[in-house]
Symmetry: C2
Subunit: 186 residues, 2 copies
Amino acid sequence: MGTSVAERAARVDPRVTRTQKLIRDALVSLLGEKSFESISVQDIADRATVNRATFYAHYTDKFALLDALIREDVAARLAEGDPLQASDTRSMLAIVGTNIFAFVASHRKCRVDRDFEPQFARTMEAQLTDFLLPSFGHCTAMLISSALVGSAMNWRHEAPKSSPEPIVANIVGILVDGVDKHRKAP
Amino acid sequence: MGTSVAERAARVDPRVTRTQKLIRDALVSLLGEKSFESISVQDIADRATVNRATFYAHYTDKFALLDALIREDVAARLAEGDPLQASDTRSMLAIVGTNIFAFVASHRKCRVDRDFEPQFARTMEAQLTDFLLPSFGHCTAMLISSALVGSAMNWRHEAPKSSPEPIVANIVGILVDGVDKHRKAP
DNA sequence: GCGAAACTGTCGCTTATCCGACGAAACGGA
DNA sequence: TCCGTTTCGTCGGATAAGCGACAGTTTCGC
């Protein structure tokens, strides 16, 4: 029996898979050397051994590429430790928070950059919100995402060498118990 | 001004370069896991993320691929240390011999194999002979190649963990001084 | 300011790769 | 031996990638 129409449509040309991987790896490689701002599409195409026109066949510009890159990487990282299977909310958020901080830490080498950092944070936050939607309402998921990503980005700038555990534990505590329990004594 | 006919002919399509590298890397990778004999063209194509038909567009069969692979690798290795610039024959052959033994050592992980070993030795010897042709007559170059490759392959099987230096020095001594000086006392 | 150089998107045409299929050959177990 | 399976080498048609060129924009040294 031959392949069905659905199967034929679902399967992607291996050339496409390979080219996209080459382009993504190229950007990752370049981000280890230069700031995102200073990287041109030509740079990426050269590093990927791919024609510049081919780049545009896959991504509208370098920002779209960065977006896809971060989105996939953070999604993969979020799945680690099976946080959605955690017994209670506190341990689930602890795992998620640890993953976010670990993800941020793994991009420490990326130059601070006018374009990079905002997109990095925004995309990470959006992905985290999506990830939390099965467990929380939309508003709650956004709040949690903002809190975690915000503190992670702050940690990246302020004290990236300090241990993330106490910060994560603190944030999770506030989120779970409510701000009232964490209010300063009068 | 546009590119000349010669330039146009000389420059190869980047896809060709990339595909050939993928295929070669795939074989190297597979040789670290299986014997050459047990590796099919399909295996190589899969590992290289390349279609099987594409493989045949570049190499007539897996033996031709292995041949090209060894030829290039050994040629690169032979150039190390600039042996052709050495002041005297003895030091030149010492460098060449060391390179050959190092090359053999770097392929220790390759499984012993009915097909692999003979081709490995033959191709290595042919390349070495070519390499020596500017410095020696054809017959002499072949003799040196046979001696070095033969002892290297023997070393590979007998005592691959022992140091190659004394063996190389010994072979070179015999080649340079002549067998007479190395004849056993009556 | 000004001109050179680099970058950006986009286009039509060429070419290498992908795919499915084919018969032939090699191999191995019943 | 015979038959099922795998591999081989090759083919024609479909498609993604390469190429050079183009006008428009930004960048940067003078």
